[in-house]
């Protein structure tokens, strides 16, 4: 392995000689601070997520370029065929593609966790005397920022292309808020898969297998009334359908109470089931 000199910087090598006085200073035991609250520990972990974005900004590619491509591609691909014009289609389609893109991005939570575990840094986190879910909650809170960013990017592209929601600023904020709450809850599905699957690649594979049917077999692209009965049954039960309905309603300045209730139920269920499974797995190893 390499020696002590930082060759990459080309600076003159400096050799570290441990000094017993300096070590004595840092080793003198002080009073131990009280352990941080669950909230504070979680926020510290989300600070870590932000630092990682700062150091590896390339990882924002999937929350910027990917959503832009999705909006442009489908608006012009389907717009003329499914509505009078791409611009008309966009009024129906934008909330849906926003949901699709953000929900697809949630899978990176699992991929990121899997990488972290592979690298070994989670071994240290797991030996810390902090609230156990903090590392994962913090990670997902960091990811929520990415969801917001993706939603804003899509909204901006939509507005440029002519999306004019009736709900105004408040409606848009409410729509993005619903989407972010659901995505936070949905991310726990991926933390679970990130923990149980062997590699980053298999996490990606499983995520795609779940996400493609879930997002496409919904009311994102077309009105479900044209679909065969058995497919309508699936679409009606699909949480993505409820999410799209409630986001569409919010952005249009109305409220879809039944869809919103379903979103609350689904979100609570994802956290209860997959949050528990995740923590069980996280503690068990």
């Amino acid at each position: 392995m390499s020696s002590d000199t930082a060759t990459s910087t080309g600076r003159a090598p400096t050799v570290f000689v441990p000094s017993s006085e300096a070590l004595a200073t840092v080793l003198a035991p002080g009073a131990r601070p009280p352990r941080p609250s669950p909230l504070s520990a979680s926020l510290t972990f989300s600070w870590r997520a932000l630092l990682k974005i700062k150091h590896v900004p390339e990882q924002l590619f999937d929350v910027t370029a990917f959503p832009i491509i999705m909006v442009l591609m489908f608006t012009y691909l389907f717009g003329g065929a499914l509505a009078d014009s791409p611009r008309d289609y966009l009024q129906f389609f934008l909330p849906g593609i926003m949901v699709t893109s953000v929900v697809m991005i949630t899978m990176y939570t699992g991929v990121g966790l899997n990488t972290d575990i592979e690298k070994g840094v989670f071994d240290r986190f797991r030996t810390l005397p902090v609230w156990r879910p903090a590392a994962l909650v913090g990670m997902i809170v960091g990811d929520v920022l990415r969801y917001v960013l993706a939603a804003v990017v899509i909204l901006t592209v939509g507005l440029v292309l002519g999306f004019r929601p009736d709900g105004g600023v408040f409606g848009i904020l409410a729509g993005i808020g619903l989407l972010v709450v659901f995505s936070f809850a949905f991310s726990w599905v991926w933390t679970f898969f990130g923990l149980i699957l062997r590699s980053e690649k298999s996490v990606m594979g499983v995520s795609m297998m779940v996400l493609f049917p879930l997002t496409f077999l919904s009311n994102v692209f077309v009105d479900p009334s044209t679909m065969p009965g058995w497919l309508q049954a699936f679409v009606k039960a699909n949480p993505i359908t409820h999410l799209v309905s409630s986001v569409r309603a919010a952005m249009a300045g109305t409220t879809d109470a039944s869809a919103m209730m379903w979103i609350a139920v689904w979100s609570a269920a994802f956290i209860a089931v997959f949050g528990t499974l995740t923590m069980h797995r996280y503690n068990r190893r």
Binding site: S2, D4, S19, L27, G30, R32, T44, L51, R198
Partner: protein
Amino acid sequence: MSRRTTGLAIEAEGLTRSFGETRALAGIDLQVPAGAVYGLLGPNGAGKTTAVRVLATLLRPDGGHARVFGHDVVSEADAVRARVSLTGQYASVDEDLTGTENLILLGRLLGLPKAAARQRAEQLLTAFGLTEAAGRQVKKYSGGMRRRIDIAASILNTPDLLFLDEPTTGLDPRSRNQVWEIVRAVVAHGTTVLLTTQYLDEADKLASRIAVVDHGRVIAEGTPGELKSSVGSGTVHLRLRDADQRPEAERVLQATLSVPVQLEADPVAITARVGGDGSELDAGAQAALALGELSRAGIVVDDFSLGQPSLDEVFLALTDHPAVPATDERDDELEAAR
């Protein structure tokens, strides 16, 4: 204020743990006294890492139990975590973050307020000679620097027990010496250290007691002196001028020393263990005697050295099988746990 602890830091009884078909721990018993360095010595795959991971609350044992400062590692894991730190064999800091950020992150997680966490980070970086690299991402650090930031992170809260899993594997000799200096300082300040290593000389230099681990069991335990004298305190390495004389040299050595003699792969090399329990002479005197006899027999010795027994030789003596590196334990674990 001193947190020096007396008594036992670790008591483990019959710890077992399997990963699928692999039996990583086959009933480990350990009694680690507080306030000193305790060495777990063994080849790759012997079960050292698994033992550390069980004791550090990262892994549940299948059977047996273990207490750290009196707290059970399974039922009182949180109390154990409050008193231990782990520097794993793999990077246990975030490689994407800088040295400073890593230490602040951990300081905050241990409950330090922001300003205090920053101050503590700077203090540690200075003491570990990492001030210049403080703002650089850890993935750009050299092997030795990475080990130091890892250990700095582990002593952030001056733990009562520090696990160091193969802290010098893969380091150059100078970085290894630096780590040794740090370990000595850590222990001098009252922290107990459980050190795993594949190198007998490392365990010898640092540990006051050593447990030799093989196939998930402790096969020998004692002070370094006790272990070595059970094996023979040294090894004579000889290189002959003429390979044809080796069978004769082997006969002479066996007759003179009455110890096992080993023929090396190099056709002129031959080694013998000296200074064992049964001998009246010390290793040096035995070696001198052997050289004299060889010379009398007309065998030309070009090169000669007297060294400590290697881990391989300790293993050979204790188990009758060489310390063959098995597969990596953590890989087994990652495989099996998923």
